[in-house]
Symmetry: C2
Subunit: 321 residues, 2 copies
């Protein structure tokens, strides 16, 4: 257990639950969709569509993040970002997050301030409210975020609608977080571009509704790795997916990092999770929207291949495995 | 850390994340408000009112529950109940919950089965869907629940609308959970009525919308204790609240338990949390709905008194204090 408390720093126990809530919420701006923000039994958020999209993700210190590799501000940004990406992957516009935060009584109050500042930062970037939450004690720092979103009349884009003949496309960065993790794992702190991508991803939120408007038949947030997450679309849609290797862009920065560390940058792009890019299938190759990159096709059958062949690297991530 | 794993029992690591999700969700019924349930990036829930009420609560093993005092089924019920009570306290009808569950890799899969069975049980009792969630690894068992609700055209009832001249009323049980905790703390397991009330509260969900329809000016879920939570209404509404001692019912069962253990049953009723009763203020004494019990009045000033005098017992609960 990392104590996260410099000597002499004020702890959450000293500030107290209600004092912390005051520090976290005081003076913060809410978007218009926040009809009733923090401080009551529950929040009220606009859901003009008449349906609400909702997801939740739990991040645990030592499992999902390390406070010696990321500062609390990064962790707060990431915790919000991974949830907003899930909302975008349904074709919805994120509207709000709720924050559950459990930490040891000896945690520095400054850590909580920075964590929540990161959450507010990412929420503001996506124009969503931080509408409520819960603060409590636990032996380990655990962050639980729930995100809400509005479909604005769109049909939700599930993982299950891909059809043979569709094209596969992605929006957002791939492999950057894996490269950053490789750098940190070797004890380095730079290049900051890839380390920053690992610490706090910047998912392309608007690309989700954009894909829905363009008729996307299936969509997923790339959290486990491109091939693993395309596998989830394949399974849910009962189709096979083939990626064209020549369409997989490997950014020069990843090539450089891999050369320095001895890794395979293409492996990062194909299997690295946590960039929270979006992957989707579209019926019409000409209808793939701007900002999306076509990388393959949907066919009959099952499984995910690269140039017709199963990829032999490790694909994706399961907990407790 | 309690391992929660009998020798030879299958662990969550052996079943794996996707296997567990399959076990948890297979064959479960969803209400009509669940438009898209678990298994995709996010769920879709009906929000016919055009607004969604949302709250979140985190329960930590060893802090909020003990698996030697409650079985996992009780803990699952309670985790859902405390959140649905918050939704009801806004005057809304609960529609859905999302579940974040973090546990050690060696946790028995049967514990997760029972925990989630308890969640489904309470959700079914309230006719809400279990629409999504997240399963992950952590050194300690942590349950994070988010509940959603629909106002059905009602104005949300906050803590801030009580006015001098209003009457104060409660719905649901008070003091039972505290009595059960006292019993368990002394090493006993009965009477089951109070122990059961501590293990799994049964909040009066319909009383929330009922109070809103009756013109309730303020409402709160009694989670910290009656006086503490009325204090929250008093602070938010900038009013004083006086409870009439002769209107505080102390059930004979609590009297009996207190006689056996040497406690004060009235103290449990006034300060015991976790029964998740509802407390509300109403402008018209004659308008207090059936099932609600009038216990006091709202006056000018601040603070909470019993028969005009501040109560001198410890009132309520804060984390890390």
């Amino acid at each position: 257990m990392s104590p996260n408390t410099p000597d002499g720093a004020e702890t959450v126990a000293e500030v107290g639950e209600f004092g912390l809530i005051e520090r976290i919420t005081r003076g913060r701006q809410q978007p218009r969709s926040t009809l009733l923000g923090p401080g009551d039994d529950a929040a009220v958020v606009a859901a003009p569509d008449g349906r609400v999209v909702a997801c939740t993700d739990v991040l645990v210190e030592g499992v999902h993040f390390r406070l010696d590799w990321s500062n609390p501000d990064h962790v707060g940004r990431k915790a919000v970002a991974v949830n907003l990406a899930d909302i975008a992957a349904m074709g919805a516009v994120p509207t709000a997050v709720l924050v559950g935060l459990a930490c040891p009584s000896g945690t520095s109050a400054a850590v909580v301030d920075q964590l929540t500042a990161g959450m507010w930062h990412e929420a503001a970037r996506a124009r969503v409210g931080v509408v409520g939450g819960d603060l409590t004690e636990a032996p380990t720092l655990v962050i639980s975020i729930t995100a809400l979103g509005d479909l604005r009349g769109r049909k939700p884009v599930t993982r299950g609608g891909a059809m043979p003949g569709d094209v596969v496309a992605v929006a957002g960065r791939l492999g950057w977080s894996a490269a950053g993790l490789a750098v940190l794992g070797r004890g380095f702190r730079s290049p900051v571009s890839v380390v920053g991508a690992h610490r706090a991803p910047e998912p392309p939120y608007p690309a989700g509704p954009q894909a829905a408007d363009a008729g996307a038949t299936a969509m997923i947030d790339v959290s486990d790795g491109l091939l693993a997450d395309l596998g989830h679309i394949g399974t849910a849609s009962n189709v096979a997916i083939d990626i064209r290797g020549d369409l997989i862009e490997v950014h020069q920065r990843l090539v450089d990092v891999a050369a320095a560390l001895g890794g395979d940058p293409r492996h990062w792009v194909l299997t690295g999770g946590e960039d929270h890019a979006l992957a989707a299938t579209f019926p019409d190759p000409a209808g793939v929207p701007d900002g999306w990159r076509t990388i393959g096709t949907v066919t009959r059958g099952n499984g995910v291949t690269v140039d017709g062949v199963p990829y032999t690297g490790a694909a994706g991530w399961q907990h407790w495995r």
